[in-house]
Structure formats: structure tokens, C-alpha cells
């Protein structure tokens, strides 16, 4: 037998043969440690997590810049990070960047608010009432299968080229992910909790407010994250096809003048806005789903 304590770990053979105890048990048993002792390397430099997460993107930027300056791409094919920064400075000074970004942001927020509200309303309707489900769910499932971008020409005929058709398309883009996830979450709320609510005298409204909606919150937040991606996709297309403003319009304009740097700039802005949106939802999750981890306060 060997001691499995820490002090005995190093410098001992990997396997030990125990002395024979009960002769009736036959041959002695060879003992090994349940897990191989991992030698700890001392003096490792600890890099903060934020810094470690920045390293990847920074390496990509450096490679991108090098590929451009070393002539792998021409400046019309790919704009270098520095050229993109210059374009940003140029458009900012002309107030082109701010105004177009703001108008895109406004459309996206409007569409998002309307779409999320509609998605939640439909999910509650279909999730709580069999009539709602039988009546609406097949229609929604069918509508979901229609590519939204295929609707663009129709929407132009219906609503013209003003703000409404753009907001409409964006809203449509986030109804479905919110609906699907919230609906599934409502149906997935633990029946045992619903029963507990019933036995303790919750009314139907109280049951919805205190049991079903809080229980479906995690699913709703998943839907919201999908929606936040969808809105930007729809926004670009809506603005590239019929708009005189917005980031999509800016990309389209840049194409006619071969300004690759502006195209990259707009794409970079989309990427950053996407990151910001994701961070917002994550913060939201941390506050709304605090009960999952059970720490005090907050």
C-alpha cells in the first residue's frame, strides 16, 4: 500500500505492489494512482482574460494589414485596416458616417421593438391557448419558411420606398426567432411548478405572470439574440435596394465609386454594432437570470 497524500506524490514509482495480505485472495494486486500527477510549471506569467481575448482579433488585424502592404491584394480588392480608419475619419468629418449610422440604428431599433413585441404576443397567444396554437401556429410556420429577402420587391409595391417598408422588413426578421424560442419555452415550463401555482391559488393571470412568463424568459433571451443578428441582415438588404440613407446605402454607393475602404468600414461598423448588441443581451441575462446561479444581491 502506498500513501496517496500530496507529500508522497513526487519521486515515487508510478505503481506499487502491495504486500500479500490474505493468502486466500491469491496474487497481490498492483496499485496505481487514480489520476496521473500533473507536474505544475512554476513561474507562469498570468495574462488577464480581457487581454487574452484581444490577442486573436489583433493578430487578424496585423495579418490583414501585412497582406495589403505586401501586395497580396490590390487596394480595390481589399482595403487595409489603416485605409479603413482613414475612410472613417474622412466620412466622419463630412458628417456622412454619423448621420447614416444613426438612421440605420433608428430603423433597426424601431423594427426590433415592433418585431419583438409581436413575437412575444404571438408566442403567448399560441403557448397558452390551444385555439391560438391551432389557428396561428401553422400560419406562422408557413410564413417563417418564406425568405424575407424575397419579400422586398412586394413590400416596395405595397408600401413604396419610405421608412415604413424598411422597418416592416426588419420587424418581420425578428418576429420569427423570438416567436419560435419563446413559444417553445412557454410549452417547456415545468408542469410541476404550474401545478404548485394552481394548488396555492394563483389565478390564470397570476399563473402567467408569476410562473409561465418568468419560466420562459431564458428561451425568450435566446430568441432575442437570434433576432439581433437577423435585424442587421435585413437592414443591409433593405437599404441596399431602396434607400437614400443608412449603412447599406453607403455600401451600395461605395460600390459605384470603387471605394472598397468605405465598404469595409461599413462592414466593420456592423460587426461592432453586433458585438455591442450581444453584450447588452448578456448583461440583460446576468440581471434577469440571476436566480439560476443563486448568488446574493444584484
Amino acid at each position: 500500500m502506498t500513501v496517496l497524500g500530496k507529500s508522497a506524490k513526487r519521486g515515487l514509482p508510478a505503481a506499487v505492489t502491495s504486500p500479500p495480505g490474505d493468502p486466500a485472495a491469491g496474487a497481490s494486486i498492483t496499485l496505481v494512482r487514480p489520476s496521473a500527477a500533473k507536474p505544475r510549471r512554476g513561474g507562469r506569467i498570468r495574462i488577464p482574460r480581457v487581454a487574452r481575448r484581444v490577442i486573436g482579433p489583433v493578430l487578424v488585424l496585423i495579418a490583414w494589414q501585412l497582406a495589403c502592404t505586401e501586395g497580396v491584394f490590390t487596394s480595390v480588392e481589399v482595403a487595409s485596416p489603416i485605409a479603413v480608419l482613414d475612410a472613417a475619419r474622412e466620412l466622419w468629418s463630412q458628417d456622412v458616417l454619423q448621420s447614416n449610422m444613426l438612421i440605420s440604428l433608428q430603423r433597426v431599433v424601431e423594427g426590433l421593438v415592433i418585431g419583438v413585441a409581436a413575437g412575444v404576443a404571438l408566442a403567448v397567444l399560441c403557448g397558452l391557448f390551444w385555439v391560438g396554437e391551432d389557428l396561428f401556429d401553422p400560419v406562422i410556420q408557413a410564413a417563417r419558411a418564406v425568405p424575407i429577402l424575397g419579400l422586398v420587391p412586394l413590400v416596395i409595391i405595397w408600401f413604396g420606398v419610405g421608412e415604413f417598408p424598411k422597418v416592416f422588413l426588419i420587424a418581420l426578421g425578428c418576429v420569427f426567432p423570438v416567436y419560435i424560442n419563446t413559444y417553445a419555452a412557454i410549452r417547456g415550463v415545468d408542469v410541476k411548478l404550474v401545478e404548485a401555482g394552481q394548488t396555492f391559488g394563483l389565478t390564470r393571470l397570476g399563473l402567467v405572470r408569476r410562473v409561465i412568463l418568468p419560466g420562459s424568459l431564458p428561451g425568450f433571451l435566446v430568441g432575442l439574440r437570434f433576432a439581433l443578428v437577423a435585424v442587421w441582415v435585413v437592414d443591409v438588404v433593405a437599404e441596399e435596394i431602396n434607400a437614400q440613407s443608412g449603412l447599406g446605402y453607403l455600401i451600395n454607393q461605395a460600390q459605384t465609386t470603387d471605394r472598397t475602404d468605405i465598404m469595409f468600414l461599413c462592414l466593420a461598423i456592423y460587426a461592432i454594432l453586433g458585438l455591442v448588441a450581444d453584450a447588452i443581451v448578456r448583461t440583460l441575462e446576468r440581471y434577469l437570470l440571476v436566480w439560476r446561479h443563486g448568488f446574493q444581491g444584484a
Partner: protein, 246 residues
């Protein structure tokens, strides 16, 4: 809610000819039961005999039964699992579904919930999240949630079945204290013969869809598991449940 029906005087539970079938399987076949106010009744039975089915019917969770069943309006259920809402802290979980009208209703509700929590020894956990509680603590919160409504009938569905033996013993003591203070009628569904004899004024055995044994427990409290009469009762009940005792 159906209109109140006059039950025989001094009853907390009155059921007569209760039937319940799942598909072709008749689980309850004309079951009669009556429990007096303040009486503690334990219901034993092998698994699958319909103990929980009866409890769900009395708790209002199963409307698809036949026969007559009458229960008080103020009743509370404690399930085998605590069934606390994970997204509410302990205190609002205790007050679930309760509202006190009039001035200071909220404050009075809070006070009552807190006092129910302190009766189960968890006043300091009022602001904790359910996920942070141990199994025994969560079940005590579930008890407080039942108590705070001052129930005339408490329905307990194997409430200690998922707890370890030490915690279960402490919960037995706690439950007896609470019953001595609040005097609700209790129907405890259990498969633990000792638990039934230890706690109940009367032990019923459910078998083949009806009550086959109805035995009063005439032992003083606190009860001693080693007492001769205790052992005799245990042997009798175990035999009835199909377990031979040597």
C-alpha cells in the same frame, strides 16, 4: 369552483365512492374516506396503488374523477419535491398566491410569511434564491408555504421521501410541532410504515383501489419505535402491505 355542499358535521375531508381510471386501468374503485378537523391521517400503500392519485384529486389537481369528494377551501399541498419557483426568492415563494386586502396588506403578508419561515427555522433565508438551498431547507420552505395559509387541510405527498434519514428525522419533529400548534387536518401519503405510525392518529392502507385497513394509533407522544405496541402495529401493517416480517 363548485358550490359548497353540506358535508357531515365535523369533517375536514369527506369522500365517498371515489373512482378514477386511466384508460382501462381503474386505479380507484369506489374509495371512501373521511378525516376529522385536526386529525392526522397517514395513507400507506404499495407503489402504484393510487395514493398520489387520491391526493391529487383532493388537492384539486385532477378533476376527472367519479363519486363525491369534499375538502375545505383553505388547503395546502406539500409535494415530494419542494416545487419552489426558482426565479423568486424564498419569501415571495412562501407568499405565493396569497393576497391580504385592506390597509398595509403587503406589509402584513410579509410579516405572516416571515413568521411562517421562522417557524421552520429559516427566517434568515428569506432573501435567498431557492437554488442556494439544500434539499431539507427547500422542503422546509415548502412547509412554510403551506403553513402560511393557515390551512384547514394539509395534503402531504411523500414530503420527506427524497430526504436523507437524518434530515427526515428532524422534519418529523418539526411537522409534529407545527401540527400541535396549528391543528390542521392532515393526509400524509407515504410508503414508510414507521413514519406513518410515528406521526399519525390513524393509519389507512390503500389496496386494490379502496381502503382495506383503518387502524387508530393509540400511542402517546413522543412515540418510541421500540415500544411493543409500535412493533406490533408495524408488523400488522407490513403484513398487510405484503412484506413478511421474521
Amino acid at each position: 369552483m363548485t358550490t359548497p355542499v353540506q358535508a357531515p358535521a365535523a369533517t375536514a375531508v369527506f369522500a365517498s365512492g371515489v373512482t378514477r381510471a386511466f384508460g382501462n386501468r381503474e386505479v380507484l374503485r369506489g374509495l371512501d374516506i373521511s378525516i376529522a378537523p385536526g386529525e392526522f391521517v397517514a395513507l400507506l400503500g404499495r407503489s402504484g396503488t393510487g395514493k398520489s392519485t387520491l391526493l391529487r384529486i383532493l388537492g384539486g389537481l385532477d378533476p376527472d374523477y367519479g363519486g363525491e369528494a369534499l375538502v375545505p377551501r383553505r388547503r395546502a399541498v406539500v409535494f415530494q419535491e419542494p416545487r419552489l419557483l426558482p426565479w423568486q426568492r424564498v419569501l415571495p415563494n412562501v407568499a405565493l398566491g396569497l393576497a391580504i386586502s385592506g390597509p398595509n396588506g403587503r406589509a402584513r403578508l410579509r410579516e405572516q410569511s416571515l413568521s411562517a419561515l421562522s417557524e421552520v427555522g429559516l427566517a434568515s433565508h428569506a432573501r435567498a434564491w431557492p437554488v442556494a438551498l439544500s434539499g431539507g431547507e427547500a422542503q422546509r420552505v415548502a412547509l412554510a408555504r403551506a403553513l402560511v395559509r393557515e390551512p384547514q387541510l394539509m395534503l402531504l405527498d411523500e414530503p420527506f421521501g427524497a430526504l436523507d434519514a437524518l434530515t427526515r428525522a428532524r422534519m418529523h419533529g418539526l411537522l409534529q410541532d407545527l401540527c400541535a400548534r396549528h391543528h390542521p387536518a392532515v393526509l400524509l401519503v407515504t410508503h414508510d410504515v414507521d413514519e406513518a405510525i410515528l406521526l399519525a392518529d390513524r393509519v389507512l392502507v390503500l389496496s386494490e383501489g379502496a381502503i382495506t385497513i383503518d387502524l387508530p394509533v393509540r400511542l402517546g407522544r413522543p412515540r418510541d419505535r421500540g415500544h411493543g405496541e409500535f412493533t406490533a402495529l408495524r408488523t400488522r401493517l407490513l403484513t398487510e402491505l405484503g412484506v413478511s416480517v421474521e
